[in-house]
Each structure stands twice: as structure tokens, then as C-alpha cells.
Symmetry: C2
Subunit: 407 residues, 2 copies
């Protein structure tokens, strides 16, 4: 265990790492490591000789040696490059890191595995969180493994697949006739009324560390020369923040072969783009977005407590923030699924749209190596999409011309 | 390429392997290999030094050297053992091979990757198939990669997720106001009217070879000492047939460390159990099952053209066939999801039920190592399950006692 302390992202105040921590002034904490000690204890080759999962990065993770790891087998996700998508976009170097094959079908398992491992280690018996998407299912599945009771509050328009998975993994789940903020408020009450630990995004220090493994995997998969541009669908932003932390730690460890860092791009929908607005206005804190609306549930986050951490990362990395046309997300989803053969989620589709925009604006150059995440399995979103297939009546003559025309 | 010829499973008649083949007397063909030549060309260690996907078994697969492989990255699936499921069942050695993380979220990708690689190699431009579940999405995704037009016919009660994925991968899909047999008849017509190649289960020789990789992976994952019992949800039966073929080929190659072969168990629902009925009556061919009904779509197959191949494998392996209570499948699904943290499909749940039955009957013994497949992601079935979560009204006082009682 190489953790030295926790540190307020807001004002740098230090907190001990050997007890349960939440936030400081309602803002997130960083986990800090003794990177010199890590560098002298292991080499990156040591780590790569271990099984290909998030736990191979153990020295860069906060889990104490004696802690029981709560895992559902979070294997290194594959990196995919498809000619047909590249042709469609007119850009040569597009990689997709497909997070849809992680446990519970989304990248949420990275953060939840870490957060719940740490919560269990510190003796937490009950957790609560708000969710409008994949976080609830992931929390429920890991809590189940850790024998922790899990309480989930969801807006009533949360997709049925997400509702179902929370209870199928044994959580207690409730629908709320309000938005995600209303659910957050109820979680705040549950903390006191029912002695629940608050597992909301960035309200405990360890989900960032789990998401950091996306950055660590990328570094290895790109042979320690990081991609030039990373497009990230940004709701709470844990992944973007976590990856940027990973890259800085790897640079400090001396493990990167090139000093060129990726330009980080926060992608949102114009139906909910608080980070994009703040970035444009040069502000460090984002104003809550009113009447947030997007079919990409994962980025329907009107106010993120890590807003300044996201905006800092964009600035430090010479990145940017892009709001794409909400009306186009459906089309991009279908197009990208077709061109890649992957089960693409709408958040990923938004990033494909942002890539098109940034290419047209020449912000992305012809030789830039671009990375997109497929953050969750598109299969989980099916009930948000209307499907109406043409019908064949077996009691009538089949019209083969229509069928042939469809090919 | 070590393929010598194709061989009728019905009467042993030989067919050349270097041209497109379908069936013989409407019954399937085996792919035959020169196993001696394979044994002298490679060792199993050679194969294991390759990337962990279905293509590491190349010498045991039918794909010619010069063929373009149509792949979406079919990685070796994980083997999972969870204490809490074992406790629940009261059996020590239960492994689940989780196929849900394969491309398009089901084991169908194994067979389709192989079938479409071969179809493309032989110049096929159009394929057609009937499906009530995961096969359509898998066929569509691989056909897209191969630039093959894909025509899919589905009963109108096919789950929306399956409908959606076929079109999201660019297939032409049609709903039919009938059962899967009606869809099959239309495929038969499409063959002639539209010059489509028939990709229905077992109507071409290569889906078996793709499914064979389940058996090859198992052998390696169990250190070449095969599990004692394999419970397999049996619809068309391609996987059961393919695994049994894999085990026999491995034995002939001399790669197995133990000669004890698994007892193969065909699991069906009592709402559709033609194979179970035939097995009980000692028949080699199954009578079509009338009024087939089960929520486990993958095993709602009233008549399988490989029936005799399934029944032969059960007999040769000292296996059996079990019909479980249709009414219980929902409960087993929830229980197994809870106990494993996996996204369990109803076909898998049926196998868990069968395991309970066979343990109670002492057909499965205390020290038997039992293997179950999770054949597809449970996320794809969500619209077949009714979810009704309790509601919280933010305009009224929250009843914390009810919430606490739910924990």
C-alpha cells in the first residue's frame, strides 16, 4: 500500500487515508501516493506479467494489503479500430475502448469495485446512491458480493433495464417522481435516517481511483505513448478526472515513453451542457443547467461536484468541451453500431458526433490518434428507442419486391 | 488448414470441403479434420501462447489460410465460481462460463463468426435466417463486417432488444405473425426468391465448429481434465453438439490429461421439451413439440434438425435430459443473478433449476464438478420481465420505516 494521504481537491487540506472519508466542504478528495516508492518497488513490466484486469495495477490503487477485494472480474477492455467507421468519419486513427463487456455491462464497475472494496474494508454495512442509469446496477452487484445493503433512488423515467438490474442484484430500489437532484436529496436524508454511506459520484474518494484504471490500461495498450485526443462523455466526470490523474501519475513514475499528453475533450449534449458553458465562459465552477434533457442518460447531470476538477483537466491538457446536437444522437448511435458491430450506447454516439464537429473545425488534425469510449452496452438502452419493424402476414401472399428492396 | 472433408451426420456420405455446402437429406454435416496431422503440426502449448480468443484454435477450425477472418474480437470467456450460489444450491463445485461478454452479448457470436467467415470466403452475398432471440443480432453484426446483406425473420413477440439489434447492425428485419417455424418457411422461400444463403441453425456446417470453441476453452480452463457434468440449455443444440465434438477431437489428439468425459445434460423447459421426451422414450429422433411456450426464448425450439446428434451425445456421454418447471424460471433468474452478480438469462436459470433437480435425485454427486453456461446477457431480456418498483412521492413525507424494512 503506497497511499500517503487524502487531499482536498478544493483547498489542499490533508486527511488520513486509514479511515472512512467522504468530502471536504462538499467537494471531492484526491488519493495521494508515494510515487517514488512505487517506482522503486515495481516496474511496469512486473505489472504486465499479472492477469489482465484492473487489479494488476494494485500498487497504484488504494486497497490495503489485508483488504478483501470485492471483484466480479474486471478484465482489461478491448481496443477496437474499424475501417468502416474511419471511412465514414474520414479520419484514419479512431480507436474505441469498449467498456460494455465489463461486469454489469458498463464502465461503472471500475469505480464501484474500488469504492465498495474500500467501503467494506472500513466496515460499511449500508450504502445509498441516486442513479438514472448504470451506476445503480453496478453498485447493487458489488454490494451483494460484499454483503452490504444497497439502497437506490431513481427518477421514475429511468430505463427499465437499469431498474431491473438493481433489484436483480438484490438492492432495495425506489422510483422518485422527480429528477436526479431530488434523488440525491433523498440519499442525503438516508445517510442520517438509516445510517447509509453515501456512494454518490465523487462523494467518496475511491470511485476516481477505480476509473483511473481506464487511463492505465490505455497507456499500456498504446505502448506508453498516449493517444492525442480523448473524447469523453461527461456527466459527473469521474472517468475524465480519473484518467487525467492516471496520466499525471504515470508521467511522474517515468513510465511514459512520450511526454505528449492527450488533449481531453468533455462531450455533452446541448440538452444538458453545464461544463461546456463554464468552459466557454472561462469559469472554474459550472452553473447548474436548467431543464436538463437528453436521451444519453449518463450525461444528464445538471450539476457535478467535481466540475472544477473536470475544467482543470481540460485546461491543463489543452483540451476543450463540446455540446453536440441532442436531435442527432439517435442517428449517430445507429450509424456507429452499424459501422463497428458494437453495441453502442448514446453517450458514445455523442462522442462520435463531437469527433465529426472537431474534425470539421480542424481542432482535430489528420494525424491525431483519437480515442473514444463505449462506456456501456447499448443493449441496456433498448427501451428508450422505438423500434417498428415492417410486418409479414403469413395468411397473405408475401411481397418479395418489398423485401428485396430493403436489402 | 487440416480439414479433410464434410460428412453427413445421418448416413456418413462425404462432401468436399472446398465448396459451399448446406445439408444432406435436410440433416446437418460434420466437418472432419486430419487430427494426426494437427497433432504433429502443433502442441496445445503453441496454441495457448496465442491471444486468448476463439482464433487461437485455428488448426481445429475450418477456416482456410487465405480466408479473411470476420471477427468482432471473440475473447475467451471467463469462468466464475461464486461461494454464495454454491451455498444456495448446497453443492461445492459449480462453475459458470459467462458467455454474456462476447460480441453482441451472447454465445451466438461464436457460431456466427465462423459461419459468416466461411460464407464470405465462398462468395455469399446474401444470407437469411429465422430468429426469436440472439441469433439475429449476431448474424447482422458479422454480416455487416463482411459486407453481406442479412435478412432476418422474427416472430412478432420477439423481445424488442433483439429486434432492435438486428436493425442497428444494418440487417433487413421483418416481424411475422406466426412462430419460428413460420419464419423458417419464409427463409426457405427467400433462398429461392432472393438467392439468400440459409444461415438457420445447423443448415450450414460451420456454426457447430464455432460453438466447438466453448469445449476447447473449457478443456484449457479446467487444465485438460474436463468437468464431470455440463448442463446446457438446449434449443437447436448446436453448442451441445459442438462441445461434444470438441471433447472427442481433443481426446483423439491426446491433449486431455484424463479420459473421463463430461456427462452432457440437455436442459429444456416443460413448456417446450421435445428432446427430453425423445430421450425418455429412447428415440433417436424427436417429435415436434406442440404449443411450445417458454420465456426462455433460446430454448423455445419445437423441432431441431440436429435432434439425433444431441440425443447421440447424451447417450454416448452417459448424460441425461431434464425438463424444468416453466413457472420457476423467473425465480431462478433472480436468485442466480443475486448470488452471482452476473447478468443471468432465463436459459441459464433453467440450468440452475436442472442442477437442483439432479442433485436432489442424486444423479449429480457431491464431488462432481458441474459447469453451467450463462449463454447471453440478461440485459437483453429485460422487456420480458415485469418490474414494478415501489414509489416515493417527493411532495409527501417519506416513510423511512418502509424503506428500512426493504433492506
Amino acid at each position: 500500500m503506497f497511499v500517503t494521504e487524502l487531499e482536498s481537491a478544493l483547498d489542499g487540506r490533508k486527511f488520513p487515508a486509514d479511515e472512512l472519508q467522504t468530502t471536504h466542504k462538499d467537494r471531492p478528495l484526491w488519493v495521494r501516493y508515494d510515487l517514488e516508492k512505487i517506482a522503486s518497488a515495481v516496474t511496469k513490466d512486473d505489472l504486465l506479467n499479472r492477469p489482465a484486469d484492473i487489479w494488476r495495477w494494485r500498487e497504484l490503487l488504494p486497497v490495503p494489503k489485508n483488504a478483501r477485494i470485492i471483484t466480479l472480474n474486471e478484465r482489461t477492455t478491448r481496443l477496437i479500430k474499424t475501417e468502416s467507421l474511419q471511412k465514414q468519419i474520414g479520419h484514419k486513427n479512431i480507436w474505441i475502448k469498449d467498456e460494455s463487456t465489463l461486469p454489469t455491462g458498463s464502465f461503472k464497475s471500475r469505480g464501484m469495485s474500488m469504492a465498495i472494496t474500500m467501503a467494506a474494508h472500513f466496515g460499511v454495512k449500508r450504502i445509498a446512491l441516486p442513479t438514472a442509469g448504470n451506476a445503480g446496477g453496478a453498485a447493487a452487484a458489488y454490494a451483494q458480493q460484499a454483503d452490504i445493503k444497497c439502497l437506490v433512488f431513481m427518477p421514475e423515467d429511468t430505463p427499465a433495464a437499469n431498474q431491473y438490474e438493481t433489484i436483480s442484484y438484490g438492492a432495495s430500489a425506489f422510483l422518485v417522481n422527480g429528477l436526479i437532484d431530488d434523488c440525491s436529496k433523498i440519499v442525503g436524508l438516508a445517510k442520517e435516517k438509516l445510517n447509509c454511506f453515501d456512494l454518490s459520484t465523487l462523494k467518496e474518494p475511491y470511485r476516481i481511483e477505480g476509473k483511473k484504471t481506464m487511463g492505465l490500461e490505455l497507456a499500456q495498450q498504446f505502448d506508453w505513448k498516449l493517444p492525442d485526443v480523448i473524447l469523453y462523455p461527461t456527466g459527473g466526470g469521474t472517468g475524465l478526472i480519473g484518467m487525467w490523474k492516471a496520466f499525471k501519475e504515470l508521467r511522474e513514475l517515468g513510465w511514459l515513453k512520450s511526454d505528449i499528453m492527450p488533449r481531453m475533450v468533455a462531450v455533452q449534449s446541448d440538452g444538458c451542457c453545464p461544463i461546456v458553458n463554464a468552459f466557454k465562459n472561462g469559469e472554474r465552477f459550472a452553473k447548474p443547467f436548467q431543464n436538463a434533457k437528453t436521451i444519453a442518460w449518463g450525461i444528464r447531470v445538471p450539476a457535478a461536484i467535481g466540475d472544477f476538477m473536470i475544467l482543470d483537466a481540460l485546461k491543463e491538457s489543452n483540451g476543450t468541451a463540446v455540446a453536440v446536437d441532442e436531435e442527432m444522437i439517435d442517428d449517430w448511435t445507429v450509424m456507429t453500431s452499424e459501422k463497428t458491430g458494437l453495441s453502442i450506447c448514446p453517450e458514445t454516439a455523442a462522442c462520435v458526433g463531437a469527433l465529426e464537429n472537431l474534425k470539421n473545425q480542424n481542432w482535430i488534425h489528420a494525424d491525431d490518434r483519437v480515442l473514444i469510449f463505449n462506456t456501456a452496452s447499448g443493449q441496456k438502452y433498448k427501451d428508450t428507442v422505438k423500434v417498428e419493424l415492417p410486418k409479414i402476414n403469413i395468411n397473405k401472399e408475401i411481397n418479395w419486391e418489398i423485401i428485396e428492396a430493403s436489402l
